[in-house]
Symmetry: C2
Subunit: 446 residues, 2 copies
């Protein structure tokens, strides 16, 4: 379909098949059902409003897109869609150090905001693994998490206000510049994590936090996941608040060693990376160490940034090391804290019984596990079976399908199992309020 | 109107005028336009569903009610309404220490939950001043704040899941038992703070946190509010995270001295109560003291619980001391951090120019100010003028009408000024999704 009526009024757009192919996919591996009609490179909010209004009048699907770094299929665009690329709206409009807020456009890369805040002694706390290339708009759309969330909260906790273009082209501003505020419904929270289905995020007011005065780091090995989880639970129960608590399972340690020629997997079955920060970082880590020692096979602590970087690098090496073995499905379940160890064991059983290779990383401090499924390690039906079993386990222990990546297209078949029909029905009716024509990222999230 | 068709099926209810009068008001001073028809004392969720379904079929307003401790008029019930009293649903169903969650009914008194959690070394962090008598359901309805929010977040941050009866009697469960989770829209967040207009909260899963290992306390006096606010801002910018940061202005100090025969008002113009907690509490307070010293006229620090209690008691004495002078309107604006000192000054100017006595307490760490307006201190039209001027000032500096108390009936006239018409229209359409018959707490919040 030609969209000359729209493109006439735009500053930048393309129908070049190579460009369309590039913007039709994200990092989920989901293959779209054909090329979209058009990609609009938004240069200002008017471009967004114009595109959405045009599409609403004609019932054309609009797929908003930041960096395309999503892993759940939320930005995948198929035949007949208009891709609305917001990566060009990348201005940091304001940083107000005294208010500890930033006002940004959606295409700002997360790490760039963090760096800009650092110039004022501040930081943007949410740190998804994709921070170096994902955008604030995409982080908001998925309510992205990250390593520091265990202490500093997820994206939702950092978003004070959003500007959004609704499905009829209306521009609304929700929220405020204050830390607290209860006037009206929490529409900001509703838009965060709505994966582009309720509105297109065109601006945001974000909370910044001070750079920590100090950071202390520990790396520990354990004989079992139970021991590692018991250690984390014990230190949390003592009121210690790690800023990072990451677990890698044995399969992941083996993969890292294969990639780097190291001996991690000989030192324990499970690796735990722990960090504390703030004025009491060192004292807090010393207290944490007292909790870890009796449960761990080895513990290394440091305040030396070089040693700390080496320990953190182990965690960072995990996904690339696994990806060397082929295409991966990055799952993202979260479970109550008491169910973490049992869930790691369940994933191992599922891997063994289906013959599918699965690696587990976990933001263990908040019960968010990433079972990384090696797609080519078994026949597709076995892989499907394994993924289904992982989801089923998570739901059976009171967990959720997705802790921080979003539902996208990949997890939609499981949505009703988690939410139940009455709640899913509420979702559809809320969607109709924000997007009466049903054009905003249809077929995603809900 | 007789509601025999409903009461036949109920376990407990009353049409006694004295009972109806009692349940028709809250602590806002708002006078209802007559007695409600009926009060239903819910004994289980079925009573709630039955009442709401009955009312929906007949277009009868339902006013949900906990302890009636609201200060914005959210629980005021007028002629023709059914009051749905949830205070009898007061069971703590579960406390799971390893998961750090509690599952409760809405009528549980906030302090009772906190006490029950303490038996497991945990606490319920949100601590509204009303905690000794307000209920969790009411706290959720208003997204209540409190003194500890500056470090531990507001009610919304502690609510993982809610059970709610929607306006057609449907029971839904939103959220989950996990700390993180992004499946579907954030309906939990939407219900929190909706002041009974979207659903009746009949259950909640709440996040608990460890009791702090230690607490350290400082009381400081300053020559000006500017100095006190500058001190708090400076320590926050250094990454110090006070668990309490409360400011009392000179008028309040005078009122406390009048009540208690003390000399607080001779020691400075402004009092700041500061607490730090956790493993590094003492070190953190020492660091804070270094920031306070050059700006304060005096600083007293302590880790002695008795001395700390005396300092905290000063803050606690504020409202009772002011209330000795007559009926008060408790305002609740919040402003960006850089605007706090200017707002205290603006309130003083407004008091002087209108002849209305206004006292200011502030949760200064998060910019939430309570200008306490002495209703009888000037003619009603002057009081209205003063309140209007306070709201106008808050909005003009990027602030909000209400930081933690809710809109209720009292702040509704100002709603459009803060939210704008397109956003207010969204509110009405969302309300229609949850409550098609428009019977849930009509005339409140939105």
């Amino acid at each position: 379909m030609s969209h000359a009526g729209l493109t006439r009024a735009l500053k930048a757009w393309s129908t070049d098949p190579a460009e369309l192919a590039r913007v039709s996919v994200d990092r989920s591996g989901t293959v779209p059902d054909g090329l979209p009609d058009l990609v609009v490179f938004a240069r200002d909010v008017d471009d967004v409003r114009r595109t959405v209004s045009y599409a609403a009048a004609r019932g054309v699907p609009v797929v908003p897109r930041g960096a395309g770094s999503g892993v759940a299929g939320g930005a995948v665009a198929g035949a007949g869609a208009i891709v609305l690329d917001l990566s060009g709206l990348d201005r940091i409009a304001e940083i107000r150090p005294d208010d500890a807020i930033a006002v940004v456009e959606p295409g700002v890369v997360t790490a760039d905001l963090d760096a800009a805040a650092a110039a004022h002694g501040l930081r943007y706390a949410p740190d998804p693994a994709s921070a170096a290339f994902s955008t604030i708009g995409g982080n908001i759309a998925t309510n992205a998490g990250g390593l520091r969330c265990v202490k500093y909260g997820v994206t939702r906790d950092a978003v004070l206000a959003v500007d959004a273009v609704l499905g009829d082209g209306t521009l609304v501003r929700t929220g405020r510049r204050t830390v607290k505020g209860v006037t009206g419904y929490d529409l900001t929270g509703l838009l965060v994590g709505s994966e582009g289905t309720l509105g297109v995020i065109v601006g945001a007011t974000l909370r910044l936090s001070p750079l920590p005065a100090a950071t202390a780091t520990a790396g520990a090995f354990f004989a079992t996941a139970e021991d590692a989880v018991a250690a984390v639970t014990a230190l949390q129960r003592r009121g210690l608040r790690p800023s990072t608590a990451e677990l890698l399972d044995r399969a992941t340690l083996v993969a890292i060693d294969q990639a780097q020629g190291g001996d991690l997997h000989t030192r324990g079955q499970v690796f735990l990376l722990l960090q504390t920060d703030g004025h009491g970082a060192e004292a807090e880590l010393a207290e944490a160490e007292r909790v870890l020692r009796p449960l761990a096979t080895s513990v290394e602590t440091t305040t030396d940034p070089v040693v700390a970087d080496r320990l953190v690098a182990t965690r960072r090496a995990a996904l690339p090391a696994v990806e060397r073995h082929g295409r991966v499905l990055i799952e993202d379940i979260a479970v109550p804290r008491s169910q973490i160890a049992g869930t790691v064991a369940a994933v191992e059983r599922i891997a063994a019984s289906t013959g599918v290779r699965i690696f587990v990383f976990a933001h263990v401090g908040d019960g968010n596990l990433h079972p990384i499924v090696l797609a080519g390690s078994a026949p597709p039906e076995q892989v499907d079976l394994a993924v289904a079993a992982v989801f089923e386990h998570a739901l059976s222990v009171g967990g959720t399908l997705t802790g921080e990546h979003g539902v996208g297209t990949l997890k939609r078949p499981w949505l009703a199992a988690e939410l139940g029909d009455p709640v899913l029905d509420l979702h559809r009716r809320i969607k109709a309020v924000f997007d009466p024509a049903g054009i905003l990222n249809p077929g995603k999230a809900i």
